[in-house]
Structures are given as C-alpha cells and as structure tokens.
C-alpha cells in the first residue's frame, strides 16, 4: 500500500531533516507479513460481532493496532504522511456522526432514541441491520480513528505540542 521505500526514507518534502529511522529487518519483514492478516482479522471480528464473540470495539481496536504496528515498523512520520490527519479526523468524527444519525432517525418519527425495531416496522429493515449499522459505521471507525489519531498526537507530543485531538468516547 505504501509505494515509498520500506525503510521509511520519506522523500524530502517534509521540511525537517528526516531522522534516518531504520528499523531492524526482522521487524519490518514480519510486520509486512502480519499487517494484512491482522487487518482482515480486525474486520472479521467487526463483521461477525453480532453472533460470535467480538464486536465493533474489539474490531476497531485491532484495526487501530495494525496502524500502530505499521507506524512502529516503518517510522511514525511516514505513516503519518500516509494516513493524513484528515482521514483520522474524518474516521473519528464521521463515526460519531453516523452513530448519532442512526439513533436519531427513529426519534424523527416519534420513537425512542436507538429504537431498532422501529426500522423493521417503518422501512422493513430487519432490526439486526440497525445494530450492524451502529457497529460497522459507528463505533469501529471511532475507535480506530481515535486510537491511531491519539497515537500520532502523543508521538508528536515530544515535539512542540500541536493540535490535541480530544477523543470522542
């Protein structure tokens, strides 16, 4: 996914002299192997949360952890350049907005907040999908966004403190 050289030699566009961050070959190669699998495992947990142990929080956490793993292996700066601040914020804010949206639609029709059976009566959607929407579109992006976003902020923390994202838990 990242077309840059694996050893984190980001091209000169970042203004600060890039500290030559070279992780030992063993870690980089293992991470290169594991990353895809852990990502898919995260998504598996996410999608099968309804009827097997797991769920959106654990899935989101593992996805976030994968991003962290890549950052450890290939250098924080390069991962940050790849995973723009914009995407992290969109993940977190978008997730919260989706969660609230799914909860508010029933209220628009007079039912209570987060009343999934309402979807069944009104639009014929099985209540299960209401739950899934909350899980997949809501909580998982929030958790993934926050975990990786916060990591980048803390990592940047050692430099002059930049914009601190207070997570939307």
């Amino acid at each position: 996914m990242s077309d840059r050289q694996p050893n984190g030699e980001a091209p000169g566009e970042s203004d600060r002299p890039e500290s030559a961050y070279v992780e030992s070959q063993v870690i980089m190669s293992t991470v290169r192997v594991i990353a895809p699998f852990s990502l898919t495992y995260g998504f598996f947990l996410l999608f099968h949360g309804a009827d097997s142990p797991g769920g959106s929080f654990q899935g989101g956490a593992i996805i976030g952890a994968t991003v962290l793993m890549i950052a450890f292996a290939f250098g924080i700066e390069s991962t940050r350049n790849w995973l723009r601040n914009r995407t992290v914020v969109v993940l977190a804010a978008g997730g919260a907005a989706m969660f609230a949206l799914v909860g508010l639609i029933p209220m628009a029709y007079g039912a209570n907040f987060l009343e999934h059976p309402f979807y069944h009566e009104q639009f014929g959607i099985k209540t299960k999908w209401g739950l899934e929407a909350i899980e997949v579109l809501g909580v998982a992006p929030i958790v993934a966004g926050v975990v990786s976003g916060l990591f980048f902020v803390i990592a940047a923390g050692s430099l002059p403190a930049t914009e601190e994202v207070s997570e939307d838990d």
Binding site: G94, A96, L104, P106, M107, N112, L114, F118, D168
Partner: protein
C-alpha cells in the same frame, strides 16, 4: 412529543462536538460559531423541556427509555426496566436550565478572552452533553459513564491552554477524579450484586424489599452499607468535599478563565447533584432510619462541616483570586452536603426534610450561578487590568466600577446577605438543620456566614477602600516574577490579556449579579419547583409513574 427531549438534549451537543473537528479540516477557528449555534438550539430545547416539566400543576416526570419499548418497563419483569431510562423531573429540570444558561453565558466570555481552536470547542460541547446526561440519567451505571465523560472532557479543557502548569493540574485532577469515579463504580457494583437492578427507582424498590424474591428490606445488609460507603466517598471526591478536595484549587487556578467559569459553576455541582440524587432517590430516608446507618450519615456530616470550616479558612489565606474562590467552593459544597444529609437524617421530621430539600436545590442552583459569576468577574478583571492577586486589587473600584460592583454583589450573595439567592439557600438549610436539633451542625451552618465573610470582606476592602497608591500598579507590566512565573498561565494570558476586556465578559459578570438579586425575590417560585422532590423524599416512594 416532549419525552424525546431528554435524549435530544444529550445527543445534540455530542453531534455538535464532532462538527468543529469535521469542519475544522476546511476552515480555521470555526469552533465558536458552531458552539454558539448548537448551544442556542440546546437552550431552546431546555426551555421547552422546562415548560413540559413544570407546565402542569406540580412537576410531571418525563421519562425516555433509550432503545424503545423493548427495554422499557413491562409486566413480565416485575415492572423493572431493562435498559437506560432518562428522567426529567423537578430536580433535574432545574439543573438542566442552569447548564444551558451557563453554557451560553460562558460562550459570551470565551468570544474574546477564552482559548480558541476547534478542539477546545469540541471538548466544550462534549462537556455540555456529558453534563446534560449526568443530570438527566435515571440509571446508576449510566451516571458513572456520564461522570467519566464529564471528568474526561474537564481534564482536557483544564489542560487546553498551551502551558505545562495546567497539564500538571489536569493530571492531578485526573488521578484523583478517576479514583473517585472508580470507587463510585464499585459501590454501584455492590448494589447491582445485591438487587440485580441498575435503574435508580428499581434499586430503591428492591432495597425496600418490594419484589417477592427479596425477603424484607435490605437496609441492614452489609453489601448495601458498603455500597453507600463507596458511593459516598466517590461522589464526595467529585464534589470536592474537604479531605478529597485537593484537586480543585489547582484545577481552577491553572485552567483558562473561561473554562474555570464553566467548571466551577457546573462540574462540582454535578458531583453534589449525583450525591443528592443517589442519597434521596436510591437510599431514601428509610435506609438511614435502620439500626446504626445514621452513624454513617453523621460521619458524612462531620466531613461536610469540616469542609465548611476549613474551606473558608483556607480561602481566607489565599493570595491568588482563583484559588481563593476554589476553596470557597469547597466550603459551599460542604454546606450542600450537610443539607443533603439533614434531609434524610432520622432525627428530622417531614418539616426538616422538606426545608432541607428546598435548601439543597436552591443552594445548588444559586451557588452555580454565583460562583460562575464570581469567576467571570475575576477573569474579566484579569483580562482588563492583569490583576490576579488580592494585593493587586487595591483601588480597582475606581477603574472598573461595573466589575467591582458585580464582584461586591456576588460576594455579598455568597455570604448570604438577604435579597439574594445565596440567602434563600442558606435560610432553608439553616431552618432545615434547626428542625433536626443537631446543635453542632446548626452552629456550623450559621457560623458559615461569618466564615465566608472572612475572605469576602477582605476583597471588598481591597477593592473599594485601599487607595491605589500603596498597591503595586499591576496594569502595565506583567508580574514582577517574569513571564515564566508559576503564574505561567497568567503570563501567557498577561501579554494578550491586558486590554482585551470584551463587553461579553462585563455583560456576563453584571448579568450574573443582577440575576442573583432578582432570583432572591423568586423564593416562592423556586420552592414550588422543588416541592415535588421534597414530597418524593418524604414519602420515600420514588416518583415512579405507574405506566411504562
């Protein structure tokens, strides 16, 4: 339609909190306008909720079950609630009004003086949502979650200005606040273990032994006693009662002025409200009438009395204004906790309970308003003249007449000079305590007037009768100790502080003072609003509406 309001009041600010971040990607400094928009809509909804609650004769209890009927009360489960119930009754109705009002007021302050940046305003909106949830929830565990949301965002906001002094204070607040909240969670766990329910009303009915699978009232049960102990300690940490108050002065002093106004008016009030709600609705006076339970109550009263006396004593010793009023909050919340305990003490009759409940409700509301106004005045004076220490207040009255005037009115209100809401709260607490014939407590409540006078008189004398000749003229140069002073927060404020006194700040301070005096005459309206709560506590029958 009105039973959707409680949920809407909580969700709206939380959605609003995501907007500054989202929109922030496109345009800078858009946070304030989004917050203003969201909070004015919020204020509208609150007003609508208040009319719904207080509209009819006596307060109607608006209940909203999250997740719809599947989680609501149904005959099958002994009429117990499975999900989370949001309840807007007489008590929470008043407090929600306070939150909406203060939230909008502080925005006026933060327009010029407060921290900028989108993250700040998203934290600000999240805190408002958390506070709304704290006051509206009817579920013990949900109360823990909202306590944590409020705590988390408060730590974030305290540390929101760019210097390390506030980070240290925020960390101290985090450690102590989290320990307190976890203890509260442990207490809730004990209650859940024993009664199997989490909804406040259901837990109190189980404690009373209503459902048939519980034989007899559980008031003597050791698990329930331990639960009250943990919950009391946890919530007293959140309300900053004496031995557990150490986080408050640092947090208030190090936070930016706008944040101090907000958290001083609402966050500790939330802790005290939670303590009152749990003691009255869940444990009810019956619990304290059984066996030695009154001794636990007396221990809490002793701590609260200590808090009143030592809070005022420490406040009188402070040199920096924000620390002074932080300790004053410790003392005033001591009074409120005394009121809560007097309301349920077996020694007092129904008259004591009724008056003490009035006192607690009015003093919670009044203190939030007065303390918010005082910190707004301190902040405005700091921005206008750079004065942050008591000695720098010498002769300020001549240069800032309006702010000094509002400081005087609010100071006298906190002392309890009559036509203000401060007097009303203190009057009902005093008469409630008198009815229980607990003489030492009565002495402390009456002595609190003099104790509060200790630091208020010192301030007024400095403001009005201390010629500027001797006091170091603080206006122009920053404090002598240089910019990196422990007053680092002031240092940062100092440079852009002097001269950036906006009309919003003066308007907030003066309107708080005027409102305090006007509410002083609205005693009968406030007691009428608080009457249903008193009735519920007296009958110890929680205001459960028979229906779902």
């Amino acid at each position: 339609m009105s039973e959707l309001l409680p949920a809407l009041l909580i969700v709206l600010p939380i959605i609003g909190a995501t907007l500054p971040l989202g929109v922030g990607l496109l345009r800078e400094n858009v946070g304030w306008s989004i917050a203003a928009l969201v909070l004015s809509v919020e204020a509208g909804l609150t007003a609508w909720l208040a009319t719904a609650v207080y509209g009819g004769e006596g307060a109607t209890r608006i209940v909203h079950v999250l997740g719809g009927e599947t989680f609501g009360r149904r005959g099958a489960t002994e009429n117990f609630v499975v999900g989370i119930e949001l309840v807007a009754d007489a008590f929470s109705g008043l407090m929600v009004l306070l939150v909406a009002g203060v939230a909008l007021g502080v925005l006026a302050f933060a327009r010029r003086g407060g921290p900028r940046g989108n993250a700040f305003y998203s934290g600000y909106l999240l805190l408002t949502g958390g506070l709304m949830g704290l006051f509206l929830t009817g579920d013990l565990f949900n109360l823990f979650v909202f306590l944590e949301i409020v705590g988390l965002t408060t730590y974030g906001l305290v540390a929101s200005d760019r210097d390390a002094e506030s980070a240290v204070a925020a960390l101290k607040y985090l450690v102590i606040g989290t320990t307190g909240a976890s203890l509260y969670l442990l207490g809730v766990g004990y209650l859940f273990l024993r009664t199997g329910a989490l909804n406040m009303v259901d837990v109190s009915r189980s404690l009373a032994g209503e459902p048939e699978w519980i034989d007899g009232a559980l008031y003597g049960d050791s698990l329930v006693l331990a639960a009250f102990g943990f919950i009391a300690v946890g919530l007293m940490t959140k309300a900053a009662i004496y031995p557990l108050h150490t986080w408050q002065p640092d947090a208030y002093a190090a936070a930016p002025d706008a944040v101090t106004v907000y958290i001083s008016a609402l966050v500790s009030t939330g802790g005290a409200y939670a303590f009152a709600r749990v003691t009255w609705t869940v444990f009810t006076p019956e619990f304290f009438a059984v066996g030695q339970n009154a001794r636990i109550l007396e221990l809490v009263i002793v701590l609260a009395c200590l808090s009143v006396v030592l809070g005022s004593g420490l406040a009188a010793m402070q040199r920096r204004l924000k620390r002074l009023f932080a300790y004053s909050s410790v003392s005033q919340f001591g009074l409120i906790v005394i009121g809560v305990c007097v309301a349920v003490h077996p020694a007092g009759g129904t008259q004591a309970t009724r008056l003490a409940v009035y006192g607690v409700v009015i003093h919670l509301l009044g203190h939030g308003l007065i303390k918010g106004g005082l910190f707004a005045t301190v902040g405005a004076l700091a921005h206008g003249t750079g004065a942050r220490r008591v000695r720098e207040y010498a002769g300020l009255a001549k240069r800032r007449p309006f702010l000094s005037g509002s400081m005087a009115v609010l100071g006298l209100a906190i002392v309890g000079v009559p036509p203000t809401i401060g007097f009303l709260g203190k009057w009902y607490l005093a008469v409630g305590a008198l009815n229980t014939r607990l003489w030492p407590v009565i002495f402390v409540v009456f002595a609190s007037t003099l104790l509060t006078l200790l630091y208020v008189a010192r301030l007024l004398e400095k403001l009005y009768f201390d010629g500027p000749a001797e006091g170091a003229a603080p206006a122009a140069e920053p404090e002598p100790e240089g910019p990196g002073a422990p007053g680092g927060a002031d240092g940062a404020m100092m440079t852009d502080g002097a001269g950036s006194l906006s009309y919003g700040m003066i308007a907030l301070a003066v309107s708080a003072a005027v409102l305090t005096v006007l509410l002083g005459f609205a005693g009968s309206a406030l007691t009428a609003a608080a009457e249903p709560i008193a009735q519920a506590v007296i009958e110890a029958a929680p205001e459960v509406s028979a229906g779902g």
